[in-house]
């Protein structure tokens, strides 16, 4: 199940639609890292609202995505981690240290707008 990665102005939005296999997650990572260069994006939002499980592999892959995107000069924010999922992640010993998270898409966009103000763009 491929995750659609859509361009929204300066940002990329990856909106996960269903449970993902490990392979799907790796594909998502590769696709985002490529697209951020091709579309010259300044920020990436990964929406995980529909995920009812985030195990060690999913967490590690999301962390990798955020770190790789930072190396490409853009910001990543993970949005929509559900309360039960957050509880399970903490019990498991997982953290997304060094990775920005926000409550939902709206908060994620607000975070990116603060991080990369429009005024830095040419002609704005």
């Amino acid at each position: 199940m491929e995750v659609p990665v859509l361009k929204q102005g300066d940002y990329l939005i990856a909106s996960i639609q269903s449970a993902l296999s490990d392979q799907d997650l790796v594909q998502l990572r590769d696709s985002i890292v490529q697209k951020v260069g091709k579309l010259r994006s300044r920020g990436v939002i990964v929406d995980v609202t529909v995920l009812d499980v985030m195990d060690s592999f999913a967490t590690r892959t999301l962390r990798d995505i955020a770190h790789m995107i930072r190396l490409r000069g853009a910001e990543t924010v993970i949005v929509g981690i559900q309360p039960e999922v957050a509880f399970a992640m903490v019990q498991l010993g997982l953290s997304l240290e060094g990775v920005a998270c926000a409550l939902d898409l709206e908060e994620g966009l607000a975070y990116l707008n603060r991080k990369s103000p429009k005024s830095t763009k040419k002609g704005a």
Binding site: S21, D55, S56, E84, V85, Q91
Partner: protein, 142 residues
């Protein structure tokens, strides 16, 4: 169809064969579905599905192939779910080390087994080099 085993009455059972990464998704979905029949809270369902996900991934990573058996059980007082993850892979030489946070022989985060232990109420592991690995975990409904 109920039967009794080691003082536990088994009410419902399901087996998921684990060979490739997509089987992990099937196993956690099935565990959530089965556990929901007992009326576990949404938090507990998430903990169970996360534990099953870790155990199933260990099979794919280290065991090559195996299965996850899920059973709803009753011991006269409590009801719960038993998850048995079994493979016939290379086994674990040093179980104590495998149960430590952050130890991994595969470059993963090393939280699979110790983390799973924290997610569930009971945890038991039997393994020896070349003899495969069998992990049994239980969660009781509160």
């Amino acid at each position: 169809m109920a039967r009794t085993e080691k003082g536990l009455t088994v009410k419902e059972e399901a087996v998921v064969a684990i060979n490739i990464d997509t089987d992990i998704v099937v196993a956690r979905h099935k565990s959530r579905e089965l556990a929901a029949q007992l009326g576990f809270s949404y938090v507990d369902l998430t903990l169970i599905a996360t534990a099953v996900s870790e155990l199933a991934r260990n099979i794919v990573l280290y065991g090559g192939a195996g299965e996850i058996q899920l059973s709803l059980v009753e011991n006269g007082v409590n009801r719960g779910i038993v998850v048995v993850a079994e493979d016939h892979g290379r086994g674990i030489a040093d179980i104590n080390r495998a149960l430590q946070d952050g130890y991994s022989s595969s470059g993963s985060l090393g939280l699979g087994l110790p983390g799973t232990r924290r997610l569930m109420d009971e945890f038991e592991i039997v393994s020896a080099p070349g003899k495969g690995t069998k992990v049994t975990v239980k969660k009781w409904k509160r």
